[in-house]
Amino acid sequence: MLDLLVKAVAYSSCIGIGAAAITLIYNATRTFNFAHASLVAWGIYMVFTGVYLLGLSPYAFVPIAALLGAAIGLAIYFGVNRWLLRAKASMVNLMMSTLGVDLVLFGVLNIYSDYLIATYKVPAKYFVLEVRDPIIELGGARIRLVGVVAPLILVALVVALHLFLTRTKVGVAMRASIENPELAKISGINTDVIYALAWAIGGALAALSGALLSLVISGYTAVGMTTIVSFFAGAIVGGLFSIFGSLLGGLLIGLSEFLGITLLGNTLGGWVYAYRPAIPLAALAITLLLKPEGLAGFVVKVRE
């Protein structure tokens, strides 16, 4: 039970981090980022590379994965997204363009994985990195390190993002450009830089969540396509206009996927487990139909 709880906490922290990335990019550039799937997968494969090829600890490559994610995010912005925003492309076109990017990244990832298999004879098609995660003693219980690291990173991100968005000039400029781009431009904010920054942070968070996720779930090239639904669900349950709402929404989705299904399985029987992928999908659909403003909606209500 403890093992499951630790895994659930680690998994849902990862989903929270990734959901925040989707929300950040969506709010800054009105782009629903489908390339998130491949960014997550690339994060996982970076950790795989570090562990299998260089024999490093899985955590050594987590920051490198984040850097790669930031670089890909910047490339997407300067290569595609920026021109579409300038041409005032429709939301559907913005979304479809990131799908195109996702297919390219997915293809390249598969080529990379084929290359790893052919050259280094490592199992790059399917792997489980969980066993490479060191076990630590915490209050007498032996748990995997990721159960501590992932929630800590989540908390650190909440603090860092909060400070960034409220205490730094760039952060305030970012909020201004998200709320009212025209007014922000008039007051001298270079929205181009702000959007690029949003894509860089979003890409980094996506790859970071993937890198941490590699220690919880098994890795394969299409892993992003199967997990992206949970990230979308987290972002939407969180309300899609609040980064902190998304962090919370992702946590909620992850916990319900892991713990909810166990509770249901205990009461209804083992056949429920197979329907785990249905949980984020159902949560997503129900939230949008019943309370489209999500968790963040409650906060706004209280403030009013």
Binding site: L84, V92, N93, G100, L103, Y275, L281, L289
Partner: protein
Amino acid sequence: MLPPELLLIIINFAIGLIITISLNIEVGLLNIPQFGRLLAVVMGAIIAAAVPGRILAATMGYPWGAEYADHMYNFKIVSEINRALAVNPALSIGIFLLTLAIAAAVGGLMGLLCAYPALRLKETLGIVLLAFGDLAVTIAWNYEPIVGGTTGVFVIDPFIFVGTQLRFTVAALVALLAALAVYAYAELLVRSPYGRMLKAIRDAEIAAGIYGKDAVKARKQVLVVGGAISAIAGALWAFFTGSMKAVTYTRLQWTFWPWAFMMLGGVGNNFGILVGVLIYTVARFLIIVYKGVISAVVGISPEWLEYILVGLLIIAIILFRPQGLFPEKPVYSLPKRRIHEIISRVERELESRT
């Protein structure tokens, strides 16, 4: 009998055309972000796999409940049914048409289901529809009594009476015929007063509303029509392949690729879509045929090359030619000659007055 290469092109073209046309009716004419095309397609395939076989099994005295989808019995039951269908063309054609009708009805129902969020959400609608499609596949993949879950089921073969050699050819040609019928329907729809109303609602909803056009009703109707058409495509595909496995119905293949065809050809232009589907089908076929050559020259598996090329294609279209190869044009509701006649007559009358 047609060579297998040509068959592959025909069936992929036919199914792709039906689905993309149905997508275009929703996206091109009414601007509904239909990212859940998969839902209606997979429902059509489920109907083809689960319903006609059960009807025949029940009438012929075989088990038709949950046992029908059990992989221990399914193969035997289906091969018995096929043996009966092989000598009974009338029954085969009847059950085939009945299945298509049921599939269309269920696809229409799925459209109604999509209408609930479609009338309430704007920006996030596409994501909800996408979730609906994935949800349907997840359930079909895990709940065995419908279509066998992970093991899948065999689909009865209504084309078997022409012989095992010829059945693929006939199935592909029937699908092509259906695709051309759908194309003709879509062309008539665009040219009809109803089609013009849809475009009016798409371009200026408030203005159309002032003239008494009901946007809510139109959205519902279009979703039902689109769902019904793509469910037929799903059923035709299941009949052609002869088996149904829920996991092969992915959102990439049945939602996103039709989107790519549509954007390549031109959103809102049926002819453009026909060309878009044709280009893509042939290109994909060439990649498959020259697999060995490609991987020898480029040094990578052509499967991944295909993903990269489609991805780059989508990006390039959106960046450089968002209206597609064949942009949407105003359609003439009368033949051009008649319109010119009317114009010259009016001009003559005006001249004679002055």
